[in-house]
């Protein structure tokens, strides 16, 4: 039986007196894919940031892998993410960016493993272009690669389909399903309904900072 790996209980969040999360509660079981659907500004990204510990809830609790985030630990343990707001270094190549993150976050992938990771997300590891010369789709793929660096059990992908063409979306669906086969738990947000219905086992539908509906998609 899959146990709860993330528990969000009655979380609210205000930014400058504006409510962005209004008492959301949900739990996430391990080794499943959860979709977060909703329009821009509905609270999906803030929810992810709250789970990660990048944003402190105004009230409520977030528990990840048995630890209360922002209480027991500052940030969610064993959790990786790809959120566009937290970007990579524009003056470095793809492999240089991954190398730097790998070392700073105290993990020790060798050069060959980093190159394989770039190939896995559909990027050429020998590409000497700096990130600032990448297309938006390439930047998105590199961001996803950075989320896979640590082999964490939980992977959070915020709007990963942005800037990806149809082939890119197919690659992403395959990648997410592979990650599930590896035993990972994936949280992915999108306002692309079709994409989420293809990939997610369970979907939370957001509107105005609340979960208005849940859809079970698991076969």
């Amino acid at each position: 039986m899959n146990k709860n790996i993330i528990e969000v209980e009655n979380v609210t969040k205000q930014f400058k007196k504006k409510s962005v999360l209004n008492g959301i509660s949900f739990s996430v079981q391990s080794n499943k894919i959860y979709g977060f659907k909703g329009p821009n500004g509905s609270g999906k990204t803030v929810t992810f940031k709250t789970i990660l510990g990048f944003v402190k809830p105004s009230s409520g609790t977030v528990k990840v892998n048995g630890k209360y985030v922002r209480k027991d630990v500052m940030f969610a343990p064993n959790t990786s993410f790809a959120i566009a707001e937290y970007g990579l270094l524009e003056d470095k190549t793809g492999i240089e960016n991954l190398q730097l993150l790998d070392i700073l976050n105290k993990h020790h992938k060798d050069h060959q493993e980093l190159m394989s990771l770039l190939e896995r997300v559909g990027l050429d590891p020998k590409n000497t272009q700096k990130l600032k010369e990448y297309s938006l789709g390439m930047k998105q793929r590199l961001l996803i690669a950075s989320a896979l660096l640590n082999d964490d059990k939980i992977v959070i992908l915020d709007e990963p389909t942005n800037a990806l063409d149809e082939d890119g979306q197919i690659f992403l669906i395959d990648l997410i399903q592979d990650l599930k086969k590896e035993g990972k738990t994936i949280l992915v947000s999108s306002h692309d309904k079709e994409f989420l219905e293809k990939v997610a086992d369970h979907i939370f539908v957001f509107s105005n900072g609340k979960i208005v509906r849940e859809e079970d998609n698991e076969e």
């Binding site: 930014f15 940031k49 990048f54 944003v55 993410f81 937290y86 070392i103 700073l104 976050n105």
Partner: protein, 213 residues
């Protein structure tokens, strides 16, 4: 090795952020100093500040500009470096990360003070070391505050402190930046204690911060 890499990474981001401000403000400061030098006015004269006499208020514009130049250059770079760039490397300890930001900002102070020292004819080393220490302490406060508030308001706070220093002859600690007051019995421990206490309180509150740039 990780620490050096972190500093290198943060230095790339920090100096990229401040490059235009550094160029414009540093050059303006340099031009002003050289112009004054040509007019037989030394750097020490410009850093004299003022000792206010009742009924004859004076505003030492050059002193004011020299002192705030460092803060104008640093701007909101520390805030962005922390709130936007820390999450990607959040397995690095918070203290270490913030220390690296402080170090980079103090490098800016150091470049400025060294410039003043080298151009000055009257190289009162003890005065310039004091200026460097006081500026460095103020910079740590400036950085800690802007993690919580808009950097523009933070800059305004520094400007207000400078204006208070100009207006009040015995204003603690920051008066040490004025050569005319440096030899007086300025109450530096009080000012330093206040700044250190505020810094400590802010560093405790940092765990409540939202990493949203």
């Amino acid at each position: 090795m990780n620490n050096l890499l972190l500093i290198k990474r943060n230095a790339t981001l920090f100096f990229h952020d401040i490059r235009w401000r550094f160029g414009i403000i540093y050059l303006s400061m340099l031009m002003l100093i050289l112009l004054r030098k040509w007019q037989q006015l030394s750097v020490i004269n410009m850093l004299n500040g003022v000792v206010q006499i009742p009924g004859n208020f004076q505003f030492p514009l050059e002193w004011f500009f020299l002192v705030i130049s460092s803060f104008l250059i640093i701007g909101g770079a520390p805030r962005r470096l922390f709130l936007k760039e820390y999450p990607m490397v959040h397995e690095v300890s918070l203290k270490l990360y913030i220390s690296s930001i402080m170090l980079l900002a103090v490098i800016v102070d150091t470049v400025i003070v060294i410039t003043w020292y080298l151009i000055s004819e009257n190289r009162d080393s003890l005065f310039f070391i004091t200026v460097w220490l006081v500026l460095g302490t103020l910079t740590t406060l400036f950085i800690n505050i802007q993690f919580f508030i808009n950097p523009l308001f933070d800059l305004l706070f520094v400007i207000v402190l400078c204006i208070l220093t100009i207006s009040i002859n015995s204003f603690p600690f920051i008066s040490l930046l004025m050569y005319s007051r440096w030899h007086s019995n300025i109450s530096w421990p009080l000012g330093l204690i206040v700044i250190v206490v505020v810094d400590v309180v802010l560093s405790i509150c940092i765990k409540k911060i939202d990493f949203v740039a």
